[in-house]
């Protein structure tokens, strides 16, 4: 990513030609991230599939690059499934998760992908689609929720997804009612938490559910632990500590605000005491991505008191994961043109030709300073503290409510690069409100010792190779 940022001329030409904002994806980095997960698998001697959660980014280049490797893909809509099939994924490498309409279930059943089912009703709906006319058995995995813990009650947020673990017998009854229609491949959980102890309870619960299925004559072989492995956005933990301390002080009014209109990011002052909790993604996460998976597998199962990875291996189960953000670490950035820089009531304002939905940092609580790409040599090399305004006619349209600290003052015409935005932040919520354009997307890759580029939809991982050079 850093070497892309050095390509000042190329980046400024691209944004001139294709408009601001402009999204850039780096498909080659994906392979490295997949490899890091594979290393954890081999370390624990485990087999299974790494399903990229497509919802993290709409890019075709990223999906096609993955299709060229050995990873799988997790789709959550009809269009995502079509996209994955069209990008070259064989059905056995595709799994459908999340809320599904009938059309998605129809295509899933016909193409033979695995369906990760959310409810008994969905399973019944799928059965009707499979039996009329009769198709070969559809691989299904059952997503479970509401796992019970013993000893210490481990709380978990209520989820809209999944069959309660205690209702596994009803799933098995339903499978018995439709012999030859389904092939139970395994069970799954997906918890929206960074806490390991909740996940340990869930994983052990899945093992118990699989055992129940085996005792009823099913032959499941996998556990899918979903995603939520996270990304470390900040190398230096002390910086994060210093910033969050300063933010608490600012909320208490003990220092000048660090945010627009003294926004507290979930903290508020009440009678000299800070209340609330910090609603920010923990920017410094020393154990994230593949390392988090490793930590989870090393965690002891609460009841059997043996590492979860060891239990999976003992039972000969495959481990599936569905990382989104973690696989896209360092895989993309968003560029935006600077329209105006002005000083206003003691604050520096940088107005950009993009809006908060194009770089949805605020929505996900991630605090990343952009990198300034100067078109010409900077005339003012001093650091500057600035607020970043967007291009929507809305008071709330700040790219981030936080004051950002830039190493040199940008000027109109310069470009700000928001790095590491590939997971969720690039186009998950991009909108055409006010008829403002949604960012064009460009794929960049290294070939012949130089950066090459094309529009995202033009990218296929077919290199011209050395022979053509």
């Amino acid at each position: 990513m850093e070497s892309v940022l050095d390509e000042t001329d190329l980046l400024t030409q691209l944004i001139t030609a294709l408009g601001s904002p402009l999204a850039i994806v780096l498909p080659q980095q994906l392979a490295r991230n997949v490899a890091a997960f594979r290393d954890v698998y081999s370390g624990h001697r485990l087999a299974g599939q790494i399903f990229y959660a497509h919802k993290a980014n709409r890019s075709s280049a990223l999906v096609r690059e993955l299709a060229a490797g050995n990873a799988g893909i997790d789709v959550a809509s009809l269009a995502e499934l079509q996209h994955a099939l069209g990008a070259g994924f064989a059905p056995r490498r595709i799994i459908a998760t999340g809320p599904k309409n009938r059309d998605l279930l129809w295509l899933a059943a016909r193409s033979g992908i695995t369906v990760s089912t959310d409810s008994l009703a969905e399973l019944s709906e799928l059965a009707a689609l499979v039996t009329k006319p009769a198709l070969s058995p559809v691989p299904v995995q059952v997503r479970l929720s509401e796992f019970t813990s013993t000893g210490v009650h481990v709380g978990a947020r209520r989820s809209r997804f999944g069959v309660p673990a205690a209702a596994m017998n009803q799933v098995l009854d339903l499978l018995d009612k439709h012999p030859g229609v389904f092939e139970l491949s395994g069970v799954a959980y997906h918890l929206d938490t960074i806490g390991l102890s909740e996940k340990a309870v869930a994983l052990e619960g899945c093992l118990l559910a699989l055992d129940e299925a085996r005792s009823r004559g099913q032959r499941p072989w996998s556990v899918d632990v979903g995603g939520g492995f996270g990304v470390n956005y900040l190398a230096d933990g002390d910086q994060w500590d210093a910033y969050t301390s300063a933010l608490s002080q600012a909320v208490l009014g003990k220092r000048e605000p660090l945010t627009w209109n003294a926004h507290g990011y979930g903290l508020r002052a009440e009678g000299g005491t800070v209340r609330g909790s910090l609603q920010l993604y923990p920017a410094h996460r020393p154990v994230a991505g593949a390392a988090y998976l490793d930590r989870l597998l090393q965690t002891a199962a609460p009841q059997q008191r043996r590492p979860l990875g060891q239990l999976l291996l003992d039972s000969m189960y495959d481990l599936h994961v569905e990382p989104g953000r973690a696989l896209l670490d360092q895989c993309g950035m968003v560029l935006a043109s600077v329209l105006e820089v002005r000083d206003d009531d003691g604050d520096t304002i940088v107005r950009l030709d993009c809006n908060a939905r194009d770089v949805s940092l605020e929505e996900h609580g991630v605090l990343m300073d952009p990198v300034v790409v100067h078109r010409a040599a900077s005339t003012d090399a001093r650091p500057v503290q600035a607020y970043l305004f967007g291009n929507l006619c809305l008071e709330a349209d700040l790219i981030t409510r936080r004051k950002v600290f830039l190493p040199s003052r940008p000027q109109a015409g310069d470009v700000l690069a928001f790095v590491n935005t590939a997971g969720y932040f690039m186009d998950f919520s991009a909108t055409q409100a006010l008829r403002q354009p949604v960012a064009r997307k460009v794929a960049m890759w290294r070939e012949h010792n130089a950066w090459q580029w094309c529009l995202d939809e033009q990218y296929w991982p077919v290199r011209t190779g050395v022979e053509a050079a």
């Binding site: 938490t193 085996r214 979930g266 609330g276 003992d314």
Partner: protein, 439 residues
């Protein structure tokens, strides 16, 4: 000494001088207030009892549950006190970080409720913090809870204002110390003691100790966390200093090894922070001064906390016959058998088949006729010597043939001539289509 109830034993703890040869301060007498000698083991016994007492006199308390947001000494004291008065106790906590305390609470009959961890996909519109969630939960259950609310309850401060603080003055012959050093947790003890001392001597210097932000020290909050505490008033402290987990353990070691005080990390941190602060003061002094710090609780509950951070303190001799000591040459000696041969071996019942996987996995699927000794247990057996005779043939089975090969090598090194490892493990066996049974 005769008492009617254990609650009468709370308080009146000794004030004990630290030998100057240990701390090295020339002009300062340093005293430890031994709160660890309270009946349930900590300073928190006072606050817990003071906060619970008025709730007990309320009518209709029968069958109710005492609740507190605590994962440490307050929970422990409340669990004991609740049990003494026919009530149950529930501890609501973000995460139980000290395993011994968790087990102790369960032993005392407490219920532990862990709050969910932070969401991975952040929802910025969800502004619920643990305290708010707990209050919601308590309100939602029809008010049959007795909530002691240690972070906001003035009775927490009063326990020390009328107890701990005046006791120190009395033991110093009616004089307040010149320096009081306290770790800040709920801020109840530091605020209460400081206020009491200042009623005697306006100029008492009060040093508040907080934990370094990236560290965890049980019972001490970080500089950010203290601002979330209702009882915390920065005006109480002459200065706030930071200590690390390393400091706390250094102090703990000094107290337990040299002073006869079996203090936990909070007390250790208080000692270390006090000496560091006072050393600078001491250099400029010509007259005698007095300083007091608090030994909050006892060391026994923190053995795993210390072990995690200073494993070398628990240095044990390497155990005999350990797989960890195998060399490359040893491993080369392990004899293995391929699946096809192993199948024959099993059908002809040529010897013992030992499956090293977990009982859970074994129960689900295993080789017919095999016995299950999970690897941890097997390792324990080997420390003692050969678990079967030299004439007994053995086939070891594990998931992928890696662990079984190590144990086969170890057994060969121990002099057993007939131990083999299933090459590729039970996964290779399954993949070859060899039979597996479920009983």
């Amino acid at each position: 000494m005769r008492f009617e109830a254990m609650t009468d034993v709370i308080g009146n703890t000794p004030l004990v001088r630290i030998d100057p040869a240990v701390h090295g301060l020339r002009h300062i007498d340093l005293y430890a207030k031994m709160e660890s000698l309270n009946p349930f083991g900590s300073l928190k016994d006072r606050a817990a009892w003071n906060m619970l007492l008025p709730l007990l006199s309320r009518s209709g308390r029968d069958g109710r549950t005492v609740v507190e947001l605590s994962s440490g000494n307050t929970a422990k004291a409340l669990a004991v006190l609740a049990g003494m008065h026919g009530l149950s106790f529930k501890s609501i906590t973000n995460r139980m970080k000290v395993p011994e305390i968790k087990d102790l609470l369960l032993l005392l009959g407490a219920e532990i409720d862990e709050l969910p961890g932070q969401a991975e996909c952040l929802d910025p519109t969800d502004t619920g913090d643990p305290l708010t969630r707990m209050h919601q939960r308590l309100a939602g259950t029809g008010g049959d809870h007795l909530h002691t609310d240690q972070y906001f309850n003035e009775l927490n401060v009063e326990a020390h204002l009328h107890g701990t603080g005046p006791e120190i003055v009395k033991d110093l012959d009616g004089r307040a110390p010149d320096y009081f050093v306290a770790c800040v947790g709920t801020a109840g003890s530091s605020t209460g003691v400081a206020t009491a001392l200042r009623q005697h001597h306006r100029d008492v210097q009060v040093v508040g100790l907080v934990a370094h932000k990236s560290d965890f020290i049980p019972g001490i909050r970080t500089i950010d966390e203290v601002h979330e505490v209702g009882l915390f008033d920065p005006g109480v402290y002459s200065c706030i200093e930071t200590i690390t987990a390393d400091d706390a353990i250094d102090g703990l070691l000094t107290l337990v090894r040299r002073c006869g005080m079996l203090a936990g990390p909070t007390g250790g941190g208080a000692y270390q922070g006090a000496v560091r602060y006072l050393r600078a003061v001491d250099a400029g002094l010509t007259e005698r001064r007095t300083a007091v710090f608090i030994v909050c609780d006892r060391v026994e509950s923190y053995l795993s906390y210390v072990r995690d951070r200073r494993p070398e303190l628990f240095g044990q001799l390497p155990r005999r016959n350990s797989a960890a000591t195998l060399t490359g040459a040893d491993l080369a000696q392990a004899s293995t058998v391929e699946v096809a041969e192993a199948e024959q071996w099993v059908t002809e019942r040529r010897g013992l088949v030992v499956d090293l996987r977990s009982p859970f996995a074994f129960r689900a699927l295993h080789i017919d006729g095999s016995i299950n000794i999970v690897d941890e247990l097997f390792a324990e057996l080997l420390h003692g010597g050969l678990p079967f005779g030299r004439g007994q043939s053995v086939l070891l089975v594990c998931p992928v043939g890696e662990k079984s090969a190590r144990y086969a090598a170890l057994l060969a090194r121990m002099g057993h001539p007939q131990v083999r490892s299933l090459d590729g493990g039970i996964i290779a066996w399954r993949d070859a289509g060899a039979p597996l049974v479920r009983d």
